[in-house]
């Protein structure tokens, strides 16, 4: 049940809020857990027992890690191995078997018999949260959950359970135990939800119309301008799609007294790829930094090893997104960019370029990366990139006409989306990622109060009048 569905907005959410606020403070966690379980069960009922069982195992492992002095590492290794094995089986087995069978076919060897494995929704996000829980207890950065209810609620809480942001136990522990909710929080939560809904339904889904059209044609015949238009559309789509979802998650949390960390901070105004990753999917990039980069040795073993670690982390990030060579290449591409930015030559260049140039260059680099992310195969991505620089033979019959790709409303909304994406740069106010309470900047808050309900209404109208487009990150 996505947040951007009528059923969620008109049935699930009002019923949940009614139960949550009528039950009294002591019952709130229980109510939230019951509704979260229903929410997950609606989307993936057959995996619910499995996800709950993993949560219970974690809860006990966490206690064991905290209690033991000699077997801490063993318990941690056991927990991490279980979670990574689960992720590997559900997310990557189809891919590896498919690739192996393709290799077999090349040598005329019969394929391995294999039944397609279905990916449990949210498993990538849950795995990272579970690993961070165990690791933080092992490192002494967090205490184990005092009750299974709290831990299961941390995992299953419906605003984040299926597509992030990736929570950390230590950030939510005290909020799970006790939180206060003012009416202003509920209102602010609704405003934020409405803003996210508008971003997803009006901006991202409109850009998706153009992106899907362009990426749907044979890239060998794609004119240069359409290729760029398609990538721009996808660049806007993925940002407003996921940041809109994160806004909705943050808003829902706020309605019920939680303060979640921000997950995006105007990433397209970044002046380097390194900065981009401080602003994009912040909960993932900080997770990878804290639990993978650090575990690999970080920059403690000299600059060369640090560069290699960066590459490995970005490759892992790419592969975490999906079991396809395209995601892996996307990750490595970003890793190479970040490594390149650590060189002296780049640092010297950076000092000479004006900020706007650096932003445009970074945005272009990121756009090129999205081609790998969006294309169905590596070959498609490469051909598409060739089309972007005019290396593909132009067909006598254009495969697309402008009217098919870009309606006037779509064009206007894409312009608006572009303005939203870049406005903070020109306003000169590009705050660092928020680490504390996610209060809206004053200007946005005023806008939210004034336009929130109207945006909510217009978004619902548009949802009813358009085909459902699932969140891109649902498939991860």
């Amino acid at each position: 049940m996505p947040f951007s569905s009528i059923l969620f907005i008109s049935v699930f959410l009002p019923l949940f809020l009614l139960a949550y606020f009528s039950g009294g403070a002591r019952l709130r966690n229980g109510v939230a857990l019951i509704f979260s379980v229903v929410f997950y069960a609606w989307g993936a009922p057959r995996f619910l027992p499995f996800i709950l069982a993993l949560g219970v195992i974690d809860y006990h492992l966490g206690k064991s890690i905290a209690a033991s002095t000699t077997r801490k590492k063993l318990y941690l290794t056991l927990g991490v191995t279980v979670h990574l094995s689960v992720l590997a089986y559900f997310k990557y087995s189809n891919f590896f078997v498919g690739e192996t069978n393709a290799l077999f076919a090349h040598f005329a060897v019969p394929p391995m018999p294999w039944k397609e494995v279905v990916l449990p929704i949210g498993i990538s996000f849950l795995t990272f949260e579970e690993i961070s829980y165990l690791t933080d207890i092992y490192r002494g950065d967090a205490r184990p959950a005092k009750s299974a209810l709290h831990y299961l609620l941390f995992l299953m809480l419906f605003p984040h359970s299926i597509a992030g942001p990736i929570f950390r136990w230590k950030d939510l522990e005290t909020q799970l135990a006790s939180r206060s909710i003012a009416r202003e929080d509920v209102a602010a939560g609704f405003h934020r939800f409405s803003l996210g809904l508008g971003k997803k339904v009006l901006l991202a889904d409109s850009a998706a119309l153009a992106a899907d059209r362009v990426f749907g044609v044979d890239p060998h015949t794609l004119p240069v301008a359409y290729a760029w238009l398609g990538v721009l559309a996808y660049t806007l789509q993925i940002y407003f799609d996921f940041s809109g979802y994160s806004d909705m998650a943050i808003g829902l949390g706020r309605m019920i007294g939680f303060r979640f960390k921000e997950n995006f901070n105007h990433p397209y105004i970044s002046q380097s790829v390194t900065e981009f990753w401080r602003r994009w999917h912040i909960s993932l990039s900080t997770w990878l930094r804290d639990y993978l980069y650090v575990a690999l040795g970080g920059n403690r073993a000299g600059p060369t090893r640090a560069q290699l670690n960066v590459l490995l982390v970005f490759a892992a990030s790419g592969f975490w997104h999906g079991a396809n060579w395209t995601y892996l290449v996307w990750g490595i591409y970003h890793g190479v960019c970040v490594v390149a930015e650590r060189t002296r030559v780049y640092a010297a260049l950076q000092r000479r370029l004006p900020p706007v140039t650096k932003m445009v260059v970074t945005f272009s680099v990121v756009m090129v990366g999205w081609v790998f992310f969006r294309a169905p195969t590596l070959g498609h991505a490469v051909t598409f990139l060739e089309a972007m620089i005019g290396m593909q033979a132009q067909a006598a019959d254009a495969p697309l006409v402008l009217g098919e790709v870009l309606q006037r409303r779509t064009a206007a909304l894409m312009l608006l989306a572009t303005a939203f994406a870049f406005a903070p740069f020109f306003r000169g106010s590009a705050p660092e990622p928020a680490t504390g309470a996610p209060t809206l900047p004053r200007r946005e808050a005023v806008l939210a109060w004034a336009w929130g309900p109207l945006l909510f209404l217009v978004s619902i109208a548009h949802m009813l009048n358009s085909k459902y487009k699932p969140l891109i990150y649902f498939k991860f």
Partner: protein
């Protein structure tokens, strides 16, 4: 207080449509061209586990959502009044001067499959065979060639809709090649494009109104005159020809069919009607029908043409296979699904002695609803028996 009011506003927006679902007549604005309400699903554990219950519940809920037509019309109005275009999910496109077109025809216009020539050649062989077998069985086949609005009125289509290539494109020539081949094979053809051109030459009127996908009444009238001419040697009566003179223009025609594309825009206000259409002079008293019993096969365009025939009292009864998927007897009997090769389908194709098949240009180079293929199979199977 401000916060409470704000929360209340959101909740009212979210919940009011649910309340409206239980109030009869709370949503009276009809939506045209939109799928019918989905049935309310029954909960079963098996269905929930397979996630079919969730999918069906979602569909039912969205279709039955309170004030749905108001929401949909509001969103369409943003596109229409803000950007002078139909919404992205609409099959309608708004051309220059507000002339409306349908997606299918734009797609046809832009199409240039290399296989067109081969498909057309195969199809011509098939139709010729059907025509010959029909004659042998004492029946007569008439093809109604119906050009698309875009190919007849491309002037109002903006350049950004149309691919480069113009008349060189193979698709554009399909109509003429198909019609010529049929005439050469001795198949009766009513050439809608030729009739429209002649009508336009004499009256200056467009074949299609700005707001309709179906033929304007005067052109529809001319096509039926063409049908009378085509089947006159086979029992149609020349008395059923009539004058197609326009009496006046109005925004309320007898069945509003000239506004079908405008209705599909589903915008606000509901009563707003920016278009007018030509209205024919009253028909003289109708003579007795001919003895022929026709079976029409085609799209909603044929349905409109049948109405002309009914008004002229041309035949004693009419059967219509809509896309060869439903059977609609005229006048007034309920529509039922029809399955090719079923006893009902077999009985109708065997018993009717005038078979009128619409050939919409956007469906070329084949007959697109498989009627000819099925007819050949049916007759071959009958011979074997």
């Amino acid at each position: 207080m401000k916060a409470a009011l704000s929360v209340a506003t959101y909740l009212v927006i979210a919940v009011a449509p649910i309340a409206a679902m239980f109030v009869p007549e709370s949503d009276t604005m009809r939506l045209y061209g939109v799928a019918e309400p989905a049935p309310r699903p029954t909960f079963t554990w098996a269905g929930a586990r397979a996630e079919t219950f969730q999918r069906d519940a979602n569909r039912w809920f969205e279709r039955d959502y309170g004030f749905r037509s108001l929401f949909v019309r509001t969103d369409n109005s943003i596109s229409y009044w803000g950007f002078r275009e139909a919404s992205s999910e609409s099959p309608v496109r708004i051309g220059g001067g507000g002339v409306l077109y349908i997606d299918q025809e734009v797609e046809y216009y832009n199409r240039a499959e290399p296989d067109d020539a081969k498909l057309l050649a195969d199809h011509i062989v098939r139709v010729t065979k059907v025509a010959e077998q029909a004659e042998a069985a004492g029946k007569h086949l008439v093809l109604l060639f119906m050009p698309g609005k875009l190919t007849v009125r491309p002037d109002s289509a903006p350049a950004e809709w149309l691919k480069a290539g113009g008349d060189r494109r193979l698709s554009r020539a399909l109509y003429g090649r198909y019609a010529d081949a049929m005439r050469a094979a001795g198949v009766s053809v009513v050439d809608g494009r030729a009739l429209m051109a002649r009508h336009h030459e004499h009256t200056g009127l467009p074949a299609f109104t700005d707001s309709g996908r179906h033929l304007a009444k005067p052109t529809g009238c001319e096509v039926i005159n063409g049908l009378v001419d085509a089947c006159e040697p086979f029992g149609c009566l020349p008395e059923h020809r009539r004058s197609c003179k326009v009496a006046r223009w109005g925004s309320e025609t007898d069945d509003n069919e000239e506004f079908d594309l405008w209705r599909l825009l589903n915008e606000l206000p509901v009563s707003y009607r920016p278009y007018t259409a030509p209205i024919l002079a009253p028909a003289p008293p109708s003579p007795s029908p001919s003895a022929r019993r026709p079976l029409f096969v085609g799209t909603s365009m044929s349905k409109q043409l049948i109405k002309h025939c009914v008004a002229r009292n041309m035949f004693p009864s009419y059967d219509f296979f809509y896309y060869n998927e439903t059977h609609e007897p005229f006048p007034g009997a309920p529509t039922t699904p029809i399955v090719p090769f079923s006893s009902e389908w077999n009985a109708l194709v065997d018993s009717r002695d005038l078979i009128v098949v619409e050939q919409p240009e956007w469906g070329m180079p084949t007959g697109f609803f498989m009627f000819f293929e099925q007819l050949i199979t049916h007759w071959r199977d009958r011979e074997k028996k």
